[in-house]
């Protein structure tokens, strides 16, 4: 019985406890304790504290960008940028992204215009953007997906020639470079996520980068509820201050970036070598960058070649305590509130729909060892080999 070895059918799970998706790198207790004792002694907890200031400076150096403006999370960052850039009407973005990309527009009173993706790179389909631009469109939100980039220079040319603004959701792309330039320097602004699942982690947090002094002043005035020291002409404010605790963890994470990136890349190479031998699991390579953070491990699953549908494979893996995931499912154009409010996109994004139905994410990051990768790939290989039997037994 080929199926007897699977936890889904009663065998002991391959892993004792859930192996999570997400980077989840964390400093040693000693470094953590030192950082937090400092905060405790200073009794200064948020709002432009000393660690926050140090973090913004170090991020500016690391990224080679003029302004790094830390925020409590990337969703807030995207909302603030949309407001600070004075966008109006509609903004074009790929539907294949995390919910916050489009939701930030809704909170800022803007309407998303969903663009399809390129079937090879999975980044926004640049050749389809022009057809979406009309008099009501004021900007483009590029999304730099999966440790890759969406060709920011080509999109910048397109935005400029149409007289509309451009910014990026770069939640997935901290540390990556395009032609030697760090992501964070393209468009009018870029927004990073410092969530615990990201390679740069504040456990929760984010950062807006810009080389535009005026925009930076506006953003710094929007960030605290009561404006900044030098008020500028802004419309709305939020409370998106990053705490000293968040800044402390992000500073240690930034120090560890080179080591964590190397670890990710090594795990990626291990996966790459082993997935190569499994029919139907096509590793998605970070596209459009000359240096990637390898923050995600994503495959496109060809059900016919592999022998099992994607969602059944996820079930098999979950039973083994491997938390595999669909990504961005089912696409923002099919999610609330857009499926109802903007039904015109429902059947217009075939590449997005196809990728939503076929992509699968595997664990990579701090909690994953080389041996874990081997065990995961062995499960995948055995699932492929036993696909007919699994199918038969699962359907009973």
């Amino acid at each position: 019985m080929k199926t007897a070895s699977f936890a889904l059918f009663g065998a002991k799970p391959a892993f004792d406890k859930p192996l999570l998706i997400g980077q989840l790198y964390f400093p040693s207790w000693e470094r953590y304790e030192t950082a937090f004792r400092g905060i405790f002694e200073r009794q200064y907890y948020n709002n432009n504290g000393p660690l926050h200031e140090e973090l913004e400076e170090k991020l500016q150096q690391f990224l080679g960008v003029k302004h790094a403006i830390c925020v409590s999370n990337a969703t807030y960052g995207l909302m603030m940028v949309a407001d600070a850039m004075e966008l109006s009407g509609k903004v074009i973005l790929p539907s294949f992204s995390f919910a916050a990309s489009a939701q930030s527009l809704s909170w800022a009173g803007l309407e998303p215009v969903f663009c399809d993706i390129d079937p090879d790179t999975h980044q926004i389909a640049i050749d389809q953007i022009s057809a979406l631009i009309d008099g009501g469109v004021s900007g483009i939100m590029g999304v730099n997906l999966w440790g890759g980039a969406c060709n920011p220079k080509a999109i910048a040319d397109l935005a400029a020639s149409n007289g509309i603004q451009l910014y990026f959701d770069s939640a997935d792309a901290f540390g990556c470079t395009v032609d030697g330039v760090r992501i964070g320097n393209f468009g009018r602004a870029e927004v990073f996520s410092f969530d615990a699942t990201k390679i740069l982690s504040a456990t929760e947090g984010g950062c807006i980068c810009t080389n535009d002094d005026d925009l930076a002043a506006r953003l710094r005035s929007i960030r605290p509820s009561y404006g900044a020291d030098k008020p500028v002409n802004i419309v709305r404010v939020v409370n998106a201050r990053m705490s000293e605790a968040q800044a402390a963890i992000a500073l240690m994470s930034l120090e560890d970036f080179p080591a964590n990136q190397k670890n990710n890349e090594a795990l990626y190479r291990l996966y790459e070598a082993q997935l190569n031998a499994i029919p139907g699991l096509h590793l998605v390579r970070p596209s459009g960058v000359d240096f990637s953070n390898y923050q995600y491990l994503v495959c496109r699953l060809d059900e016919h070649e592999f022998g099992l549908p994607r969602d059944l494979l996820i079930e098999i893996l979950r039973a083994e305590n491997v938390v595999a995931r669909r990504y961005c499912y089912p696409g923002m154009h099919r999610s609330i509130p857009y499926a109802q409010e903007l039904p015109q996109y429902l059947d217009q994004l075939p590449n997005t729909d196809s990728l939503c139905a076929s992509c699968i994410q595997f664990p990579i990051g701090a909690l994953v060892s080389a041996q874990d990768v081997e065990r995961i790939c062995s499960i995948l290989d055995r699932a492929h080999q036993a696909s007919a039997e699994i199918h038969a037994r699962y359907e009973k």
Copy 2:
């Protein structure tokens, strides 16, 4: 020379370092370390973690409310409530409140309708609400100011009889009771701030309370970017998750609430006794509650009785390292963007304008000792005694 003893004119400041406004209570390093070591060992940092769950349960018990839904800050909480309650058009609120009250409406696509305040209690002028209700108004946001309450029962009757919704910004009122019932139980929902300056502190954070199961389910679905386990029909989502670090600090702060409240009240009584003897400084008593957190120490300054204008007194105190503050200055109706967008309120709120020009906040909380109160009141008394000389010397 009566003025020579003032730091403003060159004397040594009364305090070595700035004495801040704000509660700033914080647990001992030992408790703090234990809590953070636990988080470190669990490697679980945000999104419904064990401390977060414990905090919500303990808040529910403490407040006697069915649902306490923790969020990353109160601004997000107010935005979420406005969306979850499906408010539309206009919402009535007092102009005399922190910027986030009105700003949350703007982010939720709603228009604030600014109501004046009662000249005695400084809470929203209930007798002026009815005149502001028209077909475009869908709700009232009551604000429970300064450890007091705005008569939530009377406003509830008014809202019900007009068929409009009601919720509260209770950022100032954690732990206070109205007729023995904790604030958090009134209207359809209430929002608390757990900022470091508040009596319940997560250093940054907040909480939405409601006894409405449907609303709670909607709020829990809005809170994370990707909906909750049991999705309900919501329109927008945000990322307003409270981290384990925030929850850990809030849990310790909740444990310390009785002691911190007592300390505040004792300091309040000290101020009360001494301010009584100083002409022109009228202590604002928490109104409408039978139990207050005494989170703020606020006076209305009568310039003629006291002898000095409010802003000059603030300058005098700042020079002594006593960070006194104006509160909510100059009122939301005179702040961006409302002064331009809604000019109809500019000269319609005389009590708000008058309070904005005359109120002054003094330090109370963890960093303030009984001796500090005496020294502050001594400065105030000497400033009053020397007011003519200060005026003359300041104007040179």
